[in-house]
């Protein structure tokens, strides 16, 4: 005989759970299954191909390009936005003249859709007319095709991502800083400790849980947000700005190769899982929770 409370609990959970499983867990499972089948073409149904799709991916130059691009993109944008966020939070946590304005300036890009941000920056990066070339020309600089050159296209995307994200992470650091007891600082002042010493030995360790939270979000965003790629470069020039999720989108909805798109999705999910394990398992152990 099932208890009444059990039945009630399931009745409360079921509606949300059904939707959650139907659009998260179920597609995740079917994606894994699909990655072992060929793409259906016309009247030809999908057939089991084993690991052929993975082998094809292994030999796919564009996949490796997108893979390394995404890795570099993550390695550049995550530290940059986290360190900037911390600097911003430290700045607006002091008695700064015009503090509210400064804080607003840092945070506002966060409220814009990535699409809007991409449109604005697309304009800045335009050769000749754009803001960058305009400013450079004042100093006698030459014309640059920022988004058209493979060497500068990915860094340009990184700048956009950092600009959009730093302010968002700032508020979490700010919240943590404001929750810190002020007597720690007073004690350090009495003992004549330098500000840098205090920051390194007291502030930074106390901010570790926040840093972990911010890092988790930054990592997820580095692999999840490709809106600016769609609008600004479509992965070009010559795949210089192709990121993994953009390549999934391209495979699935521009080339309509659903089997390869599924295979790519599995790779991305495995990477996200590994990163989560790394962050919570290895890094998380070194975080001192209060």
């Amino acid at each position: 005989m099932i208890r009444r409370e059990t039945l009630q609990a399931w009745a409360l959970i079921l509606p949300a759970l059904v939707l959650l499983v139907a659009f998260t867990h179920w597609p995740a499972v079917t994606t894994v299954v699909d990655s072992f089948y060929s793409t259906p073409k016309g009247s030809r149904p999908p057939r089991f191909v084993g690991v052929d799709n993975y082998a094809a991916l292994w030999d796919d130059v564009v996949f490796w390009k997108a893979f390394w691009n995404n890795l570099w993109y993550a390695l550049a944008t995550i530290p940059a936005s986290v360190i900037l966020a911390l600097a911003m939070a430290l700045a607006v946590n002091t008695a700064l003249p015009g503090r509210a304005l400064v804080r607003m300036a840092y945070f506002t890009p966060t409220m814009l859709p990535m699409i809007a941000v991409a449109n604005i920056w697309l304009f800045f990066f335009t050769p000749d007319y754009g803001l960058f070339d305009h400013v450079l020309s004042l100093f006698g600089g030459a014309r640059h095709n920022w988004l058209g050159e493979p060497a500068t296209a990915l860094p340009a995307m990184m700048v956009v991502a950092v600009w959009k994200e730093a302010g968002f992470f700032m508020i979490f650091y700010l919240a943590a800083l404001q929750a810190m007891p002020p007597d720690l600082q007073e004690a350090s002042n009495l003992e004549g400790g330098s500000r840098w010493y205090f920051f390194r030995r007291v502030t930074l360790p106390l901010l570790m849980p926040t840093t972990l939270f911010v890092l988790v979000n930054a990592v997820i965003n580095a692999f999840r947000v490709v809106d600016h790629v769609v609008v600004m470069t479509r992965g070009g020039p010559n795949n210089a700005t192709n990121l993994l999720l953009y390549y999934i989108y391209e495979m699935g909805f521009r080339f309509w190769d659903t089997a390869m798109a599924a295979t790519l999705t599995v790779v991305l999910l495995v990477m996200l899982g590994a990163l989560a394990w790394l962050q919570f398992g290895v890094f998380g152990k070194r975080v001192h929770y209060r």
């Binding site: 939707l19 998260t24 400064v102 506002t108 809106d227 909805f253 798109a261 999705t265």
Partner: protein, 266 residues
Amino acid sequence: MTRTLEIIGAWMLAILWVLPLLYAVWTAFHPSEYATNFSLFAPLTLQNFANAWDAAPFARYFLNTTMLVSLILVAQFLLCTPAAFAFARMNFPGRDIVFGIVLLQLMIMPDVLLVGNYRTMARLGLVDSILAIALPYLGSAFGIFLLRQVFRSVPQELDDAARLEGSSLLGRMWRVYVPLARPTYIAYGLVSVSYHWNNFLWPLVITNSVSTRPLTVGLAVFASTDQGIDWSIITASTLMTSAPLLVAFLLFQRQFVQSFMRAGIK
């Protein structure tokens, strides 16, 4: 001395950070010949906004986005509240396992599962509908997690008192727990609305007509195909689509920042 340098540094960074936005505002409110040409006496104009508004069905896109975010918000509240309540205050076998399954969504996000979800929508005959944009986000692990945390902090005595007065299970949830979690609902609501107002890739994939496209997709379609390179009009349309959220943010800055903090610190 170092203090002065720090203040200058903080301000320089702030100026650097708003400069792109100010530049966009400049471009949008001046005739296009002034787009890259700064002159203090350049005439102000709203013509760019008028042209953008006429060039694409933005009114319809606004309506679509409004319907989308309202649908998501209401459904998320109605679905996540009972689930969070059950996870927080009821005992049943398998609770922790099921909760773990729910939390998996924080890692495997619907945003990545474009291909799988597209096929589900095709089978359900929902491709190119607002419901299809919303469906993957309605059962929200984030919402359940957030509300469960607050519900757990509600004093058990309040619950017991309501029980003695003869309140039913749903009655207690509705009259004791939900009112006490109000700040969290506001926080979650703001996060959800701004997330879905700005969401792009999934709506891009699942919609293909004017009557379903949200603003972000409409803006991208407009800026990439219809417009050539009239930056004044593109910038005007860009600001126009971001304006409601931006204005709301500037008016209720404190609530926004506190909400994001509340939603982030678990």
